[in-house]
Every structure is written in structure tokens, then in C-alpha cells.
Symmetry: C2
Subunit: 376 residues, 2 copies
């Protein structure tokens, strides 16, 4: 429930003839039928959602679609990361086709990043590309996964190894919907919000230090934080749609983070993605400080803020531990950001001064990890 | 075995930053290692092939890759249309990842249209897009499926309903390799060659009437026919990459043809795709003549040529029959070229004068089919 009713904020994503809008604000699920009928008249809609989100939020969406005269069908997948696999992709594709949707009709993802990644990939491949709309319902999905067109599933060889770049025609981020999200999931998404400050917007990071409570509470601070995050991601994506260049900056905290997720076997009860990113960003700053690239003050300041909002910031915060240096190094070596044997990291010269460091010496990483594990 | 050794013919496909070459000629499999090493230095290669083609032609390719110092792995799928399904896609994707290929490495399709469509789709989605090379080994694949970037698999709801537009970086069409193809499969591919004449190149159609024996035999007539076909398809694709406009011309004979394939339950012992297209093109001309759009002379002339090379041209030529009008109409209605309930056909005003007819009256199609079935 929002404490005030901010206007809807529009963030355009500039990608030539694939440009689209992100609309952010209160009450957008209820008005989605009218919005879609205006932008995509006469299209049928396949709503892909997970069981949790579907129960909570699909009825309001469906009522609006019905009122606007749009034919719709709900396709429900199980909640959780395990849903991002081939069998579920086939299931969603099959149901979209069974409902006789045509190329111009819409696949609509109503859910967190799991649903968005899966449904977006299905939209990309059914009839070699259908219409696609994102209605992200987790904070992580609103500020990160729904923006930029990366879609996909996991493979037994690693996360997100199979997929497509496929841009939606519209993103509707209803900020009220986050009120039903667990605090833990909200915090995990907040790690990605803070990331945009840490990458290249020190002013936004300072604003978050002062206003984070408002973001958690809802209302216009939340809309501001989400819109600022989307604007930051959209700018990077517009510069580098298919991640051949500086889109990699968005991976701040992710190389270490992925290694932690692998070390905990993607067990969300121990560590969810945003928590891994939180620890990973703290590690990236500590590693940068150790390399003499940034001050330890900067590392301490960003760590303190993440700790204040309740995020884990240390390896020791992971229940059950993360194993030893060898295991972490092996996971880092398998990370897909490895180009021809060299290690690529996102490092920082300070808060809001991140950069892509190619050719990082594996021995330096190993030494840092040994020290970081020894912190306790 | 070619009877002479023509130079390699290069057909460029102009698609902006996704432009690529089709090289057509004798002996290209043996020299492929050197060609790839020059164009894609240092890339690892996953060769996707079917059991039949792999046994016949993979060893020569592999010897060349080894000699050129390129790491390679062979991934073998069963021969036949049933291979274009989700389970095989997952299998190919999984093996490409298991061999630790990176985003810049190559998936190489060595086979007919089945292998090309499946491997191309896998290349499109592994790591959201790897390098991709086509080495088509059937005539159909050399003149049609390897050109234009359509990749995909079948669904229980219909053929080619799941896939991606994904352009290769290079197409190598070794014309000698067609000598191991069965005459029936060669003829089926020839239907697509003739199609390019019928669409918009009456001079090429006349040339085929005079020189078809040379095309079947091998040597420079074969190279000429394949290069002319590729040039024709490349021009259409360059104008309309994702089939929103006149790329649909390439579907001449395909709406009727798909209905025949459906009526024979895609049983290749009864009817292979090119045979269905041959009959479908004759039907499109007969239908055009009946509608007063073209002369019956034109319909008879094109039918006579296809009959001369040994292709079926009548519904009565299909072993086991094709059922009744209702069944064919239902199949036509399910064809994916139906836009919002209207029927689209490719019709002709004469040989080399095909056009896209939208809003064709289903009653006229029904009347024509009843008459065509009654021919005997
Ligand atoms: N495509 C990209 O660019 C990109 C970027 C980052 C992450 N991702 C992917 O996103 C996924 C993680 O996203 P996520 O954290 O949203 O996970 P998720 O989709 O699993 O959602 C987390 C949990 O919250 C529940 N949930 C979502 N919205 C809710 C709501 N409003 N109320 C109550 N419960 C709700 C879900 O049912 C789920 O149990 C990962 O698979 C990751 O790989 C993709
Ligand atoms: N992507 C496109 O634009 C496009 C266009 C037209 C057709 N297609 C697809 O192409 C497929 C049909 O292609 P196809 O006719 O090549 O089928 P195919 O790949 O099944 O090949 C036909 C048969 O010939 C064998 N074969 C192939 N090359 C051979 C050789 N040199 N020597 C001996 N045997 C050989 C194969 O093993 C197979 O048994 C269909 O799935 C169709 O949907 C795609």
C-alpha cells in the first residue's frame, strides 16, 4: 500500500526500433488492462506467472484485461529458480501455442526475475518472436531483470547459459505490489538498487544512505529509487545492448556473488541472489582497496550501508559457510565472464567509480579470497 | 563427384552488421578447416550432424579442422524430421556447453535442413548467441534452409512454430556432397530451385527447362543453379529479414504444400517437403488460372517441367491420398501464414510473376480444392 499516490514515472529505453517505455508507479496492475488495450489493441494475452504471485496479483490484472476486452489465459509455473529449465520452457511454449496465440499477440510476465526470464525467452522463440510485456513484481525484477532484454534459463552447466536477447514492448512496474514481497526478498532487490549508486552515481548512493527507509516503506521514495535504477540500467543497455562492452559494469559484485551462489549450491534458504551480490560488491570494494585502487574508507562506507539495511556483507554471514579458496576459484573460473582464460572483474576507484578490469591476475584473486575467508 | 572443377562462387547476403557470405563450389568440405581458420582464427567448433551425413562427410571436415589447428567436437543427432524437437535441442545445447565452448566459438551445422534448423537454433540460444556456420549437405538446405536465418524446431501444434531468426557468419555449400544424396531428396530440393524461377525469374525457369540434367549431374550447371537460387533468396531476405513483408513470396507452393504434409502426417515415406512444395506450386498456378489471374498455359508449362524431372505434381500422385476438402481446409486454416482469420496465398500472374494475395476468400479455395481432388 503506498502512503501517497505518486504520478506514474516513465523511463524510456532507447533501442532504435525496439525502444520501449518502463512505467513505474502505484496501481499499475489494476490499470494494466486499459494500458494494454490502448497500446496493443485487440491482442490476446498469455499471462505467465508463478503460483505465489498468481494467487496474489493475477486476479486484479485479469479483471482489468477482461474489462478492456482483451482475451487472456493464465499459465502458472512453480515459484523458484528451478523453474528456469528446459522442461518448463517447453511447457510454457506449448501452452501459448495451445491457446492459439499469433505472432502479434502478447506474452505477459507477471512475477519476479524467474518468471520474467522464462516468459521472455518463451516470447522470443514462439513463432520466432511474439509480443512481450513485463510486469515485474519483485524489487529485483523491477530494477534489474525486467530491463535490458536478457531472457533465459539455466543449464546443468551453469546459470543463465541458455537464452535470448529479447526486448519487451512495455514494462509496467507496479510499486505497490512489492508490499506482499518478503522483507528478505525486498532487501535482496535493494542490493541491486545500491549497485547503481556504486557503479557510477555517488549522489544516488548518498541519497539511499539518507532515504533507504522510505524506499522500504513505499510511496514516492520507492518510486524514485526504482526509476533511478531503471534509468541507470536503461542507459547502459542503450549503449551496449548485447554486452560486448561496458554493460559488463552491471556485473559489479556478480563474479564473487556467483561463486558464492555456486558454493551454496543455489540453495535460496542459505543465500538468495541479491544477498550474494551484496557480499560480492563488498568483496569487490575490499579487493579494490587491497589492490590500492580505492580507499578502505570507501569499502567500509558501502559495507556499512548494506549492513544497515540488513544485508549480509561478509563471507561469514553465509549460513553453512562457502567452502575454501579452491572451490571459490574453480567457480570463478567457470563464470561466463571469463574471456579466453583471463579473469575479468568489476573493480572500483571509489563509490560511484567502478570500472571493468580485464586480465586480473588469478593469483591476486586467490590471495584476496584467502584473506577474506580469514576475516572470520 | 564433379565433372569439372568450377571456381568457388561467392554470394554475399547483405544484412548490415550481420552480413555474411555463401560460398558455393566443389571440394569445400575438405578445405573448410583452412577457410574457417582464416575467417575465425582460434575458435573451437561443435559440429552438429546427423548419423547419415556424419558417417559420410564428417571425417573429411574433421581432418581439415585438425590440420588447421581448430579444436572440434562432433555432436550426432538422428536423421529425420523428428529430430527437430525440444528434447534434441536440449541435448545439443547441453553438449555444446559440456565441451566448454565460449560465446565466440562456433556451432557448425553439417547436414540437411533438419540439422541446420536445429543447430542454428542451438547456436542462437547458447550463451544468448554463439558463432554459427552452415555447411548444408542437401540440395534443399543449400538453396533454401541455410540461407536467411530462420532456425527452429517443431511443436505438437505445428512445424517450425518455435525458433529464432539467427544469421550464420558463413555458409559453405559443397556441391559435390550432393552426389551421396538420394535422387528422391535431390528432386525434392530441385522443387525449391524451380520455385525461384517461378517467383520472379522467368529467364532462370527457362534455363532450368533447358539445363536441368546438368544440375542433377553435377559440375558447373549445378553450381550455377544453386548460386542463382541463393542469390534470389538472399535478395528477398535482405529486403525483409523477419518476414513482415515480401519474404512471404518464398512461400509459393507452401500453403497448399503444408496442408498436404499435414494430410500425410509428415510421413516422409509418402511425401517429403519438396514433393509437397512441387504439388503445392502446381496447385497455386492452377488456382491462379481458375481465378483468371494467369493463363492455363503457364500452369501447364510449369507442371510439365516438374513432371519431367520426376516430381509429383498432382494430389493423385500422393500414395495413400490426401483426404477430403474439409481436412485440407482445416490444415490451411491452421497454417501460420493466417493473419487474424484471413487466408494469405502466393498466387501468380504467370511464370516469374508471383505475388502475395491477402484476404483470399476461403470459399474460393474450397471450390478449387474440390475440383483439384476430382482431377483423379
Ligand atoms: N534478465 C536479467 O537481466 C536478470 C538480471 C538479474 C537477475 N535475473 C534473474 O532473476 C531471478 C531472480 O529474480 P527474483 O529475485 O525476482 O526471483 P523470483 O522470481 O524467484 O522471485 C523471488 C520470490 O518472490 C516471490 N514473489 C515475487 N514477487 C512477489 C510479490 N509481489 N509478492 C510476493 N511474492 C513475490 C516469488 O514467487 C519468488 O518466490 C534469477 O533467476 C536471476 O537469474 C535476471
Ligand atoms: N530454415 C529455413 O528457412 C527452412 C527452409 C526450408 C526448409 N526447412 C526445413 O528443412 C528441413 C528439410 O530439409 P532437408 O530436406 O535437407 O531434410 P533433412 O535434413 O532431413 O535431409 C534429408 C535426408 O537426407 C539426408 N542427407 C542430407 N544430406 C545428405 C548427403 N549429402 N548425402 C546423403 N544423405 C544426406 C539426411 O540424413 C536426411 O535423411 C525441414 O525440417 C524444413 O522445415 C527450413
Amino acid at each position: 500500500m503506498s502512503i501517497d499516490a505518486p504520478e506514474t514515472t516513465r523511463v524510456p529505453v532507447a533501442l532504435g526500433d525496439r525502444s520501449y517505455d518502463i512505467l513505474i508507479g502505484s496501481g499499475l496492475i489494476a490499470s494494466a488492462g486499459a494500458t494494454l488495450a490502448a497500446r496493443f489493441p485487440g491482442r490476446a494475452v498469455a499471462i505467465v506467472t508463478d503460483a505465489t504471485v498468481g494467487d496474489l496479483h493475477a486476479p486484479a490484472l485479469e479483471a482489468g484485461l477482461t474489462a478492456a476486452g482483451l482475451r487472456h489465459h493464465r499459465i502458472t509455473v512453480p515459484a523458484g529458480e528451478a523453474t528456469k529449465r528446459f522442461a518448463m520452457l517447453e511447457e510454457v511454449v506449448d501452452q501459448v501455442l495451445a491457446h492459439r496465440l499469433e505472432r502479434g499477440d502478447l506474452v505477459l510476465a507477471l512475477g519476479g526475475g524467474v518468471v520474467g526470464d522464462l516468459a521472455g525467452f518463451a516470447a522470443a522463440i514462439v513463432r520466432r518472436g511474439m509480443g512481450f510485456v513485463q510486469m515485474p513484481t519483485s524489487l529485483l525484477a523491477q530494477v534489474d531483470s525486467s530491463v535490458g532484454g536478457k531472457t533465459g534459463i539455466n543449464s546443468r552447466h551453469g546459470k543463465n547459459l541458455v537464452g535470448a536477447f529479447y526486448q519487451p514492448g512495455l514494462v509496467l512496474a507496479d510499486t505497490d505490489v512489492l508490499d506482499t514481497l518478503s522483507t528478505r526478498e525486498f532487501r535482496a532487490g535493494y542490493a541491486e538498487v545500491a549497485k547503481y549508486g556504486l557503479i557510477d552515481d555517488p549522489g544516488f548512493f548518498s541519497w539511499l544512505e539518507a532515504n533507504w527507509r522510505g524506499v522500504f516503506q513505499g510511496g514516492k521514495d520507492r518510486v524514485h529509487a526504482i526509476a533511478t535504477s531503471c534509468r541507470a540500467k536503461a542507459a547502459v543497455v542503450a549503449r551496449d545492448e548485447t554486452e560486448t562492452g561496458d554493460r559488463a559494469l552491471l556485473n559489479l559484485g556478480h563474479t564473487f556473488g556467483h561463486a558464492l551462489e555456486a558454493a551454496t549450491r543455489y540453495d535460496g534458504t542459505r543465500l538468495v541472489h541479491g544477498e550474494a551480490v551484496a557480499i560480492g560488491m563488498c568483496q569487490a570494494f575490499r579487493f579494490s582497496a587491497k589492490l590500492g585502487l580505492c580507499s578502505s574508507d570507501a569499502a567500509e562506507r558501502m559495507t556499512a550501508h548494506l549492513k544497515t539495511v540488513g544485508l549480509p556483507t561478509e563471507l561469514a554471514h553465509v549460513p553453512g559457510g562457502v567452502g575454501d579458496v579452491d572451490g571459490l576459484m574453480a567457480a570463478i573460473g567457470q563464470d561466463k565472464k571469463v574471456a579466453r582464460g583471463k579473469l575479468t572483474f568489476i573493480l572500483a576507484r571509489g563509490i560511484g567509480e567502478s570500472f571493468i578490469a580485464k586480465d586480473v591476475d588469478p593469483a591476486a584473486v586467490r590471495a584476496f579470497l584467502a584473506e577474506d575467508l580469514a576475516r572470520g
